[in-house]
Amino acid sequence: MKKKIHFKSIRTKMILYFSSLVLLTITIFMFFSINYTKDNLMENSAENSRQLIEQVNLNIENYIDYMENISQVIISSSNVKNYLFHSGNGGLDSKLEEYFQVVLKARKDIYNIALYGDNGRYFINDGKAKRNPYARLEKKEWYQEAKAVGSDIVISSSHVQNMVDGDYKWVVTFSRGVVNPQTMKVEGLLMIDLNYDVINDLCGAISLGKKGYVYILDQKGEIVYHPQQQLILSGVKKEPLEEIINSEKSTSYIDENGEEKIYTPFQSVKTGWTIVGVVYTSELVKNEKTVQYMYIGLGSVLTALAILLAFLMSNGITRPLKQLKAAMKEVQEGKFEPVYAAVKGDNEIASLNRSFNRMTEHIDELMKKNTTEQAEKRKSEMKALQSQINPHFLYNTLDSIIWMIETGDQEEAILMTSALAGFFRQAIGKSDVFVTIWEELEYTKNYLIIQQMRYKDKIDFNIMVNQDIMECMIIKLVLQPLVENALYHGLKYKEEKGTIRITGYQQRGNIVIKVMDDGIGMDQETLKSIFHKKSRVGGRYNGVGMVNIQERMVLYYGEGFGLFVESEVGIGTTVTVTLPYRLSEEINEDK
């Protein structure tokens, strides 16, 4: 139960809302940014590959430049031409040897330098190297191409050079036609073999992730370098060859193991080769995962922050609310005056608090007023009761009874005694403030009976009250004092017999009871002074004064209810009592 209530607390709600908001935001953010980063990573990797490949290309082109320079120098040398195209040249061998050796010693990456003349003359490296008689150079593709092109440089693919006897080395051959100055035709060929290790090392050193690699294709789509050349040539592995040469952008392919790879090609203008960088997407994705973890971490931190913030904020809201709640509880328990929830500030809760404070003050005021009223009521009742137990009335009545017994008028004595008993039973016995109209009338009747017996020929009375109001409630001691007043102030001074009439009925939701006498009446002046506490007529003379009745009526019923007195000298007085129509239950509720 407690937990349930707790879950509904503002703080918990705020924490939930805040955290879900943060998590939602981060999830969306993550989704978009991961998509973005994926593209970004692809782009970056392509860019990275491209830079590395460009570096490879730059290095290769450096070699080419160098080869071009050397070959240019060699083919323009008259010694070379003379050696190739003129027979009987004694000292040229040593000159060429010296020349070639300088180059070969300076550049370890140059494996062979060879000159071949169409006429069968040749010179390889130091001039002492034997030509492989079975080399069949003229059958090699690169040789044929170099022959066809003329004096321009031709770069072969990677191949095994077998022109030197017993020597088989992987090289890339740069060949160039040598022009015979006499015929002005290309009649010889210069070949420079670049050690393939150079390219091997260059490409092998490139790191494209743990698994990525570089490969090189020539113009025809043949492999110059590939770390798994054997696998590709024997068809075990497939690699996009022709497709790559024709594409300029990074493209991804899926290999036979189901791995996605990104191929970034770079076309070398000088060599016509295509250098391709290959990166495994799975390795990029690994990086991407790191980014995801970063987001998850960020999400955790932000959620924690959100929770903290929710705490602080909900504290800011709930603390004054809790204070207010505590204050309300005190009010609930009945303490009014010292309860002031002290909330500073200008926000809604502070204003709520101020309203609460005002309300408490108001209630406090009302409570005080109520207490005073209650005290007053009690005082009035006390007064009424005190007046009721007026000893003179008792003495007189008892005197009358004694006198009746003495005269032997036993029946009268019994009647009077029982009336007196009834009268007092009601006056003293019942402590309730309210009685039914019937009870009040009985009480009044007993009183009237007693008085009638005492002043035999002087009083007559007549009660005509509608049955439907008999069960309605009325404040105790309203009618009897009025009757008493009528007797003592109206009929007492009349020579003949006087009559008191009481009527009662319902009128517009109220009850109207009239006490009428045909006594001496009052002049206007006396009438006006009735409700002055100090007037002789209104004041306490015998029984309950008009003022007391009026006060009590207003206290219990409110303004608008009470007594209305009409009188005319010599004709009589009519007192009209107006009270709300209330049945017994309603009165009880009022209490």
């Binding site: 707790h6 607390s9 703080r11 918990t12 924490i15 955290s19 492989n132 008689p133 079975y134 080399a135 059958k139 090699k140 693919s157 191949h159 095994v160 077998n162 017993g166 088989y168 992987w170 743990k210 698994k211 690699y213 043949e222 492999i223 770390p227 798994q228 050349q229 054997q230 696998l231 040539l233 024997s234 075990v236 690994k286 995962k289 995801q292 973890y293 998850i296 971490g297 999400g299 955790s300 959620t303 924690a304 929770i307 903290l308 705490f311 709930t318």
Partner: protein, 324 residues
């Protein structure tokens, strides 16, 4: 104050759930990051031996591609099977996931191979087999198939009166038996032309001597097939020396520089070459698969290629004949 405590508990709970998920994903990641450990034991590590260097290079290439932690333990001299046995024991001590072995001996190292299995290490055999089939997978040349390939090629050199001699290596060796069987099958109805089968015992000189004797005894033989490198080269040396290159056609298994020179000069007419790079590559690929707990094929045959003087330098073959 109570609410405070509860709130903290809730937030801690949410955080811990978050971190738990993160940790789960991370641990999953670490699992896949763990590389398989494989030890390769070739017959020899000798930089001048193209076949084995090529096989090792294929293995390294696969190790990079499949992210395998590869260690190579190899004798310095070929046929040092005692040393290889020691290396097998050493490899078991290192507790790899897989041991890839190229056994030097057919029956002498079966006991060591069993120890590998007993240690819970998976065994892969490359190039050669042992006398019990306890390996996870075998990767090598299908010798019968290669023999058929060569035998079929030999038909091109069969003339009307052609007589054939076979120079094998070791009489009981599985490769010798299988290759001979294949050659006979490839020759088909011309099988009857086979005059004799000689055994060089994997020795150049013995092959050389045997060939000289053969040619003296049977001058009419004009097609000789060598069933391994030693036999083939020994035969070529003898024929070249006897200046019978034009008359006698030679075909054979495997290659080295000498063999290629004889091929270039026309002494040898055709060589059938294996693909050691591919073998090494497949060996480690299968090792990686076995280490990951996947089922691997029991036998994987690596192809062979017929090389003649006309196709030595085509790009497909250059890399086979001259791996470096």
């Amino acid at each position: 104050m109570k609410i405070n405590k509860n709130g903290i508990i809730i937030s801690l709970l949410m955080l811990s759930v978050f971190f738990l998920i993160a940790a789960l994903i991370l641990s999953d990641e670490f699992k896949t990051d763990k590389n398989a450990k494989v030890i390769l034991i070739p017959k020899v590590y000798d930089e001048s031996n193209d076949f084995w260097m090529s096989l090792i290079s294929g293995a390294k290439s696969a190790a990079k591609e499949f992210q395998v932690e590869l260690t190579i333990l190899a004798p310095d001299v070929e046929n040092d099977y005692e040393k290889q046995k020691e290396y097998i024991c050493e490899a078991i001590r290192q507790k790899p996931d897989v041991i890839a072995l190229t056994p030097i001996m057919y029956s002498e190292m079966t006991e060591e191979a069993k120890k590998v299995k007993e240690a819970g290490i998976k065994l892969i055999l490359i190039d050669s087999k042992i006398d019990e089939e306890i390996e996870e997978s075998y990767i090598g040349t299908n010798n019968i198939e290669a023999g058929i390939q060569l035998g079929t090629k030999m038909l091109e050199y069969v003339k009307k009166d052609t007589k054939i001699a076979i120079v094998s290596h070791v009489k009981e060796a599985s490769t010798a038996i299988e290759r001979e069987k294949g050659v006979r099958e490839g020759l088909g109805k011309e099988e009857g032309r086979i005059q004799t089968v000689l055994y060089s015992n994997s020795d150049y000189d013995q092959a050389y001597i045997l060939t000289k004797q053969l040619m003296q005894e049977h001058p009419d033989i004009d097609l000789i097939v060598g069933l391994n490198l030693y036999s083939t080269v020994g035969v070529a040396r003898a024929i070249n020396e006897m200046k019978l290159g034009r008359k006698v056609n030679i075909v054979g298994f495997d290659n080295d520089i000498e063999g290629i020179r004889y091929l270039e000069s026309g002494v040898i007419n055709a060589l059938i070459v294996q693909k050691p790079f591919n073998m090494g590559y497949f060996g480690i690929q299968k090792a990686a698969e076995a280490a990951a707990g996947n089922a691997v094929e029991r036998t994987i045959y690596s192809e062979t290629e017929i090389i003649t003087v006309d196709n030595i330098y085509i790009s497909e073959n250059q890399k086979l004949l001259f791996p470096f």
